[in-house]
């Protein structure tokens, strides 16, 4: 299992294709096997059997970024409805700006 899952949002999908990442977003739509979450922009995620997303609440997803920029969910954790997304985005920004304490390049 990958032990490093950098926190990203929709802006970083392309830079992380093929890698396992962590995305915190707000669930906006669920359609069967896929869902759309808002993480500083829309991200389409491919659900697994264990994911129980609730529309309108925050979810933290650990997943792999596919070539088409969808994210295959490996694990999801519900974060409730109190998450402040401005702080989430600040953390994503810090993660990549000061990555020395968050992740190593190319695994």
């Amino acid at each position: 299992m990958t032990e490093q899952t950098p926190r990203i949002n929709s802006l970083y999908l392309e830079a992380f294709t093929g890698q396992t990442v962590m995305i915190t977003g707000k669930v906006s739509q669920i359609r069967g096997e896929t869902a759309v979450i808002d993480a500083n922009g829309e991200v389409t995620v491919l659900l697994n059997r264990e994911s129980h997303l609730r529309p309108g609440t925050a979810v933290e997803i650990v997943g792999k970024v596919n070539q088409d920029l969808t994210v295959k969910v490996l694990k999801s954790t519900n974060m409730g409805s109190e998450i402040d997304f401005s702080i989430v985005n600040a953390v994503v920004d810090a993660t990549h700006r000061y990555k020395e304490i968050f992740y190593a390049d190319n695994k």
Binding site: E3, A90, Y98, I101, F102
Partner: protein, 273 residues
């Protein structure tokens, strides 16, 4: 925060005996290094990411680890419990914060009274762990003082930001005066642009926690032309266009910390170099 065992709060006990102070066999005692001249009051509790713990240097066995060249006694971090392995003498939790995974080994205290109220981490829980970084057979783990459940998930993000701020403080020095006096409160945490050399020439770095006003006055004293008598409070107040009582307050702080001293009278200050 509850530091259960009390061993690390006994500053007084370590104070007098330089280097030789092994007292009472408390856990904190074991970090002392003979002849190391350990200074009193240097115990720290630092917010970190797990990657920082794995990257920390341990100069020699049983030494305090170093992160960003600053020595680390206690650390705290937030992560999600991936695995719980109960064993005869301890329970090992694998905790993942997205930057790395580390084992947290909580020893079983057979003497402790059974406490149904006590929080027991489960797989999938987000926990806030406080403890010491240890290394055994080349593998690092945490000896926890406390493991607390995270109930407000914003705490995870607060923690990551404070770990970043502390990292930048040690790696780049304290945040300098914002350029051109434009102080942006919100972004102040992340030193943009002026990160290189805080406080300009020749001076010492002020410790964190000094107010913006104090930093400003110190910088002003360092950078303005003056004779060896220093500057009078009212001069400083006039030139910086701030009330004198503010200057007095900050000045007292700087004098107390030994960054400036009084010259011809109590109201005339010069930088201590």
């Amino acid at each position: 925060m509850d530091y259960g065992y009390g061993g690390n709060t006994s500053y007084g006990a370590q104070g007098g005996a330089d280097g030789g102070g092994f007292l009472g066999g408390s856990q904190a005692g074991s970090q002392d290094t003979p002849g190391g001249g350990k200074k009193y009051g240097q115990d720290t509790l630092r917010p970190v990411t797990i990657k920082q713990l794995l990257d920390a240097t341990i100069p020699y066995p049983d030494a305090d680890p170093k992160i960003d060249d600053a020595s680390l006694t206690q650390a705290h971090f937030i992560g999600q419990v991936r695995q719980v392995s109960p064993q005869a003498t301890n329970t090992t939790y694998k905790v993942d914060d997205g930057t790395a995974v580390i084992d947290v080994k909580q020893w079983v205290d057979s003497d402790a009274a059974v406490d149904d109220e006590k929080y027991v981490p489960k797989e999938g829980d987000y926990v806030h762990v406080y403890g010491k970084l240890k290394e055994f057979n080349g593998k690092r783990h945490i000896g926890p003082q406390a493991i607390r459940p995270v109930t407000d998930f914003n705490e995870i993000n607060y923690h990551l930001l404070s770990a970043t701020a502390v990292h930048l403080y040690f790696a780049r020095g304290p945040p300098g005066q914002a350029n051109g006096g434009v102080k942006s409160e919100g972004d102040g945490l992340f030193v943009d642009g002026n990160a290189g050399g805080p406080n300009g020439v020749g001076g010492r770095k002020l410790p964190a926690g000094m107010s913006a006003m104090t930093k400003r006055i110190y910088e002003f004293l360092q950078n303005s032309p003056q004779n060896n008598e220093g500057l009078h409070v009212h001069d400083i107040a006039r030139q910086l266009n701030v009330p004198s009582n503010e200057v007095f307050k900050s000045g007292d702080e700087l004098i107390l910390q030994g960054f400036i001293y009084t010259t011809i009278d109590d109201e005339t200050w010069a930088v201590l170099e």
